[in-house]
Symmetry: C2
Subunit: 185 residues, 2 copies
């Protein structure tokens, strides 16, 4: 293969590994996803093993995780009994799935814990002495700050999910451009 094509292929696989790593997934997941995204044809598990240079066991495990997250899907290749895969090429669909099934739940858990902390502190106030009550008030204020942060995250996520489509980039570009111009004037 041409050297430039090879270099770009490697650069994209490497970069997607860094991206999945950033999102708390294994970099091998990113490498496998990248290998499929950069292939015009579906790839078999053997081919994927060769491209990412990982063991059969590691490839199988990471491919199962990618399937669960809707990042890759199995495809049927006529006249071939082996399993073939292709990537979900719409990155927004990928991000939506992750936000929907993971981030939303994690933020929900955090908010539930914070609510529980507020409830417990409010209940405890009656039986606390003066000094402890002051500390309870201080704790309530800190819990509230952290709550505001997670509530904002929860609302931003719901807005993102309710749109049902990719963010309207043109609108955001327009808003960004006009803000930039104002700053220069």
């Amino acid at each position: 293969m041409d050297k430039t094509l090879e270099a770009v292929h490697e650069s994209m696989i490497n970069g997607l590994g860094q991206l999945t790593d950033f999102f708390g997934f294994s970099p091998v997941m990113g490498h496998l996803y990248g290998a499929l995204l950069m292939s015009p044809e579906p790839l078999s598990l053997d081919e994927l093993e060769e491209i990412v240079g990982r063991s059969k066991a590691s490839v199988s495990m990471n491919m199962r995780a990618l399937e669960r997250w809707g990042m890759v899907r199995e495809v049927w290749v006529k006249g071939d009994r082996r399993k073939y895969y292709e990537a979900e090429s719409d990155l927004w669909t990928v991000v939506r799935t992750i936000v929907e099934s993971r981030e939303r739940r994690e933020v929900g858990v955090a908010l539930a814990v914070l609510d529980e902390n507020t409830r417990k502190l409010e209940e405890a106030k009656a039986r606390l002495n003066e000094e402890e009550r002051k500390l309870a008030e201080y704790y309530l204020a800190r819990v509230k700050d952290v709550q505001a942060f997670f509530e904002f995250a929860a609302i931003a996520m719901e807005l993102f999910l309710q749109r049902g489509g990719p963010p309207r980039l043109e609108e955001i570009v327009a808003a960004y451009d006009s803000t930039g111009r104002e700053a220069e004037e």
Copy 2:
């Protein structure tokens, strides 16, 4: 100390450890930040060591990282020669600093790599054979998709940073409420 106060104190320190872990920092950083956030008074390194149950070396190292990220600051306590610290209690300031100094740079690096890949593919086209040129076009389309994703991330970050203050939660709540109502109607 009262058991409820103790439980809330522990829960908040634990939760902030999970949050820093999610953002790719050490959980110990979150525990130290949490210990300071939940303390009405500045704390010394000795006190922090006791609360988070880590070695002097680990506490020093993680406190230096927290100082670099503007998450904690040294404070002078009258009549005491030891070092004391307090937390930056505005979580938005913390998030802004992280986005400004880390995420922005990382997204910038990703965009530069993607631009370079596009440039290399465009340059290579002239000397590629028919089959290779098709693959180059396919690669260019994939690079463009990933670019759109990072460009959106870059713009969203700049908008966030340009605001200079916390996101206007009320406006977002209002937008969220009206969207919710429309969906129910």
